[in-house]
Symmetry: C2
Subunit: 397 residues, 2 copies
């Protein structure tokens, strides 16, 4: 249909490394030496879809960039709601709060539900933001270990971690860093557990558009009205559309009382919080006009994930499953001579590859013996990174 | 030099009411009946400067809108610092934190300084955001009354409100809602008071570019190194450039320890907070390229403030000084037959003019007997609003 969406979009030629070296922060191109390939933060190397840029420019040309409705632009809330409905969730625009990013949404959700002295259950490993936001709200974080190798929820493993103080369970689906897309049976077990113990489920679905395998993304709130009533879903646009600098995400909550607490905790009504108008306009354009772009991006990521997992698994001591979702590889490197910290350090110094170590500070103790690599770049750049890693191990062995 | 900056820019012809009715929320055009003129929230009816729109579009066209440095774009922090230096403050880019709006900056500052059980001193009347953010941080708000009529700090009036629990004093300069630009003697008295009682000064200068009278804006931190060391200044771009929907402001703090607490309290390092890249780019353009536009805007506001104050003061029972700063009129209406609430209600219902009542919830008990009107519109629209108010009183009397 449109040449902008042909495979060329996700080739090396479309990446502007000069711009990336100026603009890509958070451990990426602008923060590393010129000879280093960063495979760190979960963000793509490709420019954003032209539809997003056009929507921003068009809105800016209207000339007015003043105060917004406190919960978000009606058109943004409608686009989000419509997208959730397409995913099987009984959403309504009135249940949507625009937030300045998914991470901010997570913090607002935790503040709405948790008080000092409360406990939350989350998993091990899991991205640092979930425990971080729980702690910021004053709660104690209890981690339920996931099955090594698969990242699967171990049946009946959660009950032992619950106490009278437990208020919420925090999940991430697709899961960062394991790349697992939770099965219906896992989601149902979590929901039943939450119901049995009267817990709120804080449900991070920021990766839900990046499904690479055959297991479908099942949105927790699509499972039943009862489950939806105890769930706060947070999501954003940084992973799927590369607009983390715009800081745009949202909260969906069907439970009226809980949603009131979320609004209160966000403080949007006083104007101390909210999402930028151009960011909402950009996200709306992403949802309405970038379906084809996103499908093409997903195809590219699928291809690169397969190549990357295979080449990494071929390195002695590495085991690297193909991620079912996310654009993250999370190889087990515990059968090499390295631990996650010294491998990451040596890869940086000697192979000029920057990765995220499976350190407790990033993912919890269960990430030990792993490194995490973002694959959201061109095949050429990722193959070059893989060659450097292989060469490092060949020289080393 | 540039026809875009001629007086036409601030005429009725340049206002796009159709756009305002679609985009101006927070008690403004998009939230009132079609026959109502809103003079409520502090935001202009004029489109933003073309330089700001051009800067946004140019940056978006680069194609990359990814993660930023956590404290803000280096170029944004430099532009803010340079602007403060021009205003006599010994600022440095390292002392600047980009925030998603001035209101957010105020909340971050309060969270950094205050804990539950603390007390703060602020003034009466004063904009609700200062006490609001203090209360959100758990502090008790003690109000020191300002002199009626002038809004002057009454000499030696603050000491009676201090206790062992007092941690901070919150000021707003130019003052919302009185429109007073604080004199050097007042600022020095506040600084000496803060020093004597070891208080942090949280200093809201969001109106500092809107100086209409002959009293110069004196930036608190320009007075001395000692004063600057105990001051947190917050500011933004919504009042001067009409970009509240972009949610962009900043914190300046020269005190290294205090600034560390601010960063910690903001949580920018975890990515749960920050300012959108396009908002920082827009604010940078405002500071670097819109000096002439701002001077022209100020001239317009000065003219309209004089006309408005005169016509309102001519209404029996009204007393309306010309504001020294801000684009707010704050007439004393206590010698009419109305109180602030029923006058605001009747003006809305009968004169189709929406104003902010001098209610305790907005400004504290000291605002009683006043209404607040924003004048940031064209002379034509404001004259029409004044005519409606006059007619209301003529019919009424």
């Amino acid at each position: 249909m449109n040449t902008r969406h042909d495979p060329f979009v996700f080739s090396e030629a479309s990446i502007d490394k000069e711009q990336l070296r100026k603009t890509a922060f958070n451990l990426r191109w602008a923060t590393v030496d010129a000879d280093v390939i960063p495979l760190t933060a979960g963000e793509m190397d490709f420019p954003v879809s032209p539809e997003i840029i056009e929507a921003i420019s068009r809105h800016a040309r209207n000339g007015y960039l003043g105060y917004l409705p406190d919960l978000g632009l009606p058109s943004f809330r409608e686009a989000v709601s419509e997208n959730l409905i397409q995913n099987g969730v009984q959403a309504h625009p009135d249940q949507i709060l625009a937030t300045d990013g998914a991470a901010s949404a997570l913090r607002i959700a935790c503040n709405a539900v948790l008080s000092p002295g409360d406990e939350v259950i989350t998993f091990d490993p899991i991205d640092f933001l979930l425990p971080h936001c729980s702690k910021m709200a004053g709660a104690t974080v209890i981690r339920c270990p996931l099955e090594k190798g698969t990242g699967r929820l171990i049946p009946n493993s959660m009950d032992q971690f619950v106490s009278a103080k437990t208020k919420a369970i925090l999940i991430c689906n697709p899961h960062n860093p394991t790349g697992r897309v939770l099965r219906k049976s896992e989601l149902l077990e979590i929901a039943e557990f939450a119901e049995r113990h009267h817990l709120v489920i804080i449900n991070d679905e920021v990766w839900s558009d990046i499904i690479l395998g055959s297991n479908p993304m099942i949105h927790l709130s699509s499972l039943s009205e009862e489950i939806s009533q105890r769930t706060i879903t947070i999501s954003g646009f940084s992973k799927s559309y590369g607009i983390s600098g715009l800081r745009i995400g949202y909260i969906h909550c069907q439970n009226v009382e809980l949603f009131k607490n979320i609004i209160e905790s966000s403080d949007v009504k006083s104007t101390t919080a909210g999402a930028s108008v151009l960011s909402q306009v950009a996200a709306e354009a992403a949802l309405l006009n970038c379906t084809e772009w996103l499908a093409s991006y997903r195809s590219h990521l699928k291809e690169i994930a397969e190549v990357g997992s295979k080449r990494l698994s071929d390195i002695p001591g590495f085991s690297c499953p193909v991620p079912e979702g996310t654009f993250l590889l999370f190889p087990d490197i515990s059968n090499t001579e390295y631990d996650e910290e010294n491998l990451s350090q040596d890869l940086l110094n000697m192979a000029k590859i920057s990765v995220v170590p499976g350190a407790e500070r990033w993912f919890g103790p269960g990430a030990k013996g792993h490194i995490r690599l973002s694959i959201a770049t061109s095949m050429e750049t990722f193959n070059e990174a893989l060659s450097r890693i292989e060469l490092f191990f060949n020289h080393d062995n």
